[in-house]
């Protein structure tokens, strides 16, 4: 492989709360206990790479709540941030403000400070080029539990250097207007253990509100609300899980499994979040309230088609 002669890199001045490299995720390893991982909010991941004119599966930096502060050394490079994110660039002691979803040119010695996500959780940083990261089982997605993927399976660390390669000489000026809509009603399909719960429990599951607790991360969202009482058995023989599955623990609290979830679980599954609502679900921050609404498979499939069309439409509108 040809070595890049230019030394272009970021120095991590502040890593942020949970900043990891992610791509599209890792297929076909659930059976050995390795979850899908990948960018939590797939639409914002796709937009980030498309705005950068990158391959769709190029690595990005995903951050949660507070993002990283990065010092850039090297030739001019385009970057963009997606999500609902406050950030600034510090250039020669001046603070410059920019918007998400547009390419910005970073110059040598600039400092990119990703301050926070607004009433949301995840944001993405993409560059017109490639972060030099390690791949494991066909993906660079960092899984901090199994310690695999980019950065030796670790979050970004203070002081580390992120090397860059394939920096685009022609800096694209792409941008789009996009507002991340928020949702409170999560649509779900009935799970295989629906009949483990009393009629009253099911009624309150669909009519009451649940609080998103602080015990939420890339593995799952823990909810607090009315106890969902079990009339059969609080445990099942462990079996496969998928992202979006809602398990009810022995204490009667729902847990929604997210992209880094354990691959098998032993709690009854009351339902599964529809694929079209997943990107918005993961963006709901702790302290928010959510409600569940049941729909059938046919409707879920139609809604997903519409969601996909909307995503493709957004991508084709990037100019």
């Amino acid at each position: 492989m040809k070595k890049n002669m230019n030394k272009n890199y970021f120095e991590v001045l502040r890593p942020g709360i949970n900043s990891t490299f992610q791509d599209n995720g890792r297929n076909n390893f659930y059976h050995i206990g390795i979850p899908f991982s990948g960018a939590m909010d797939n639409r914002n991941f796709l937009l980030a790479n498309t705005i950068s004119n990158n391959e769709i599966n190029n690595p990005v930096v995903e951050f949660a709540y507070q993002g990283p502060k990065l010092k850039y050394i090297g030739e001019n490079i385009s970057i963009n941030v997606t999500g609902d994110v406050n950030f600034k660039i510090i250039r020669k002691n001046k603070n410059l403000e920019f918007s998400c979803y547009e390419n910005i040119i970073l110059e040598n010695n600039d400092c990119l400070d990703i301050l926070s996500t607004n009433r949301s959780v995840y944001g993405y940083l993409s560059i017109g080029g490639t972060f030099e990261v390690d791949y494991y089982l066909n993906s660079c997605s960092t899984n901090t539990k199994a310690k695999i993927g980019a950065n030796s399976g670790e979050k970004l660390k203070k002081g580390q250097i992120i090397h860059l390669k394939n920096i685009k000489k022609i800096l694209p000026k792409n941008k789009i207007e996009y507002l991340n809509s928020k949702i409170e009603n999560i649509r779900i399909i009935k799970g295989p253990h629906f009949d483990y719960f009393s009629k009253d429990a099911i009624d309150s599951f669909f009519s009451d509100e649940f609080n998103v607790t602080k015990l939420s991360d890339r593995m799952g969202i823990r909810l607090k609300g009315p106890k969902i009482s079990n009339i059969k058995n609080t445990n099942i023989k462990s079996e496969g899980l998928v992202k979006g599955v809602i398990q009810i623990t022995a204490d009667g609290d729902p847990i929604i499994m997210l992209s880094d979830h354990g691959t098998i679980g032993g709690y009854p599954k009351i339902g599964v979040v529809i694929s079209a609502d997943y990107d918005k679900l993961v963006q709901i921050p702790p302290g928010s309230k959510i409600k569940f609404k049941e729909i059938n498979l046919k409707d879920a499939e139609t809604i997903f088609k519409l969601y996909e069309m909307e995503t493709q439409n957004l991508i084709s509108n990037i100019k």
């Binding site: 494991y136 199994a146 998928v242 354990g262 098998i264 694929s275």
Partner: protein
């Protein structure tokens, strides 16, 4: 052999092989798993075998529940597709510092330590599934005399490579992890090697495991 196929959300099939936990049912599950891995049906992203269920997740952009269900129902099974399954020998050191729950087990099961180990090491174990955390094998069945409940309060951190038992099953903690199984020893062998880019896990569903005891000295040598 599959009793029922239902949908798990809009992007997965939930194949039910029954409610019991036994080798016969699990071999069916794993036979389907192996055949599906060779089938190359469009859109499958993951296949997760467990005791008596098989979950097949798929990319909703490429296929759908109805399409994939039909393909699975019409799948022609190659018989004896278990050639991929191996016998694997795992050394275990039962030194006091590794056998965190042996005292509890003696009281609970009312048999002495040496009898517990003699019974444990005398059997081969079948791998029903791997997962929960990367590479963790769920093995069975234990001799009835060793059936023990989980700890009332799970440990926050079970050391990596610990051997745990509960009810009819035993497992190996491939990473430091929370857990409530009774810990009886530790192996110097890495069951999941995150440096290996192909087949990082030593034990696969359908494999047979035989444990054998080693001394602390041998344990330390193997670790070097």
């Amino acid at each position: 052999m599959i009793k029922n196929i239902s949908n798990l959300g809009d992007a997965a099939l939930y194949c039910d092989f029954g409610t019991e936990v036994n080798k016969e049912i699990n071999r069916n599950v794993i036979n389907y798993f192996n055949n599906l891995r060779d089938s190359n049906f469009l859109g499958i992203t993951n296949i997760t075998p467990s005791y008596n269920k098989l979950v097949i997740s798929f990319d909703l952009k490429l296929t759908s529940f109805a399409k994939l269900k039909k393909q699975v129902e019409n799948l022609e099974l190659k018989k004896n597709n278990n050639s991929k399954n191996n016998l694997i020998k795992i050394p275990v050191c039962c030194a006091e510092e590794f056998a965190l729950d042996i005292k509890r087990l003696q009281k609970l099961l009312k048999i002495n330590e040496s009898k517990i180990y003699e019974t444990f090491f005398s059997k081969n174990y079948y791998c029903y599934m791997t997962g929960f955390i990367a590479g963790m094998p769920f093995l069975g069945d234990m001799d009835k005399s060793l059936f023990a409940k989980r700890l009332e309060t799970p440990r926050v951190k079970v050391p990596k490579n610990s051997i745990g038992i509960t009810e009819q099953f035993c497992n190996i903690y491939t990473f430091e992890s929370p857990g409530g199984w009774n810990i009886i020893g530790k192996t110097p062998v890495d069951i999941f090697d995150n440096k290996k880019n192909t087949e990082p896990n030593l034990i696969n569903p359908g494999d047979t495991i035989s444990f054998y005891p080693i001394s602390k000295l041998e344990y330390e040598k193997k670790y070097e």
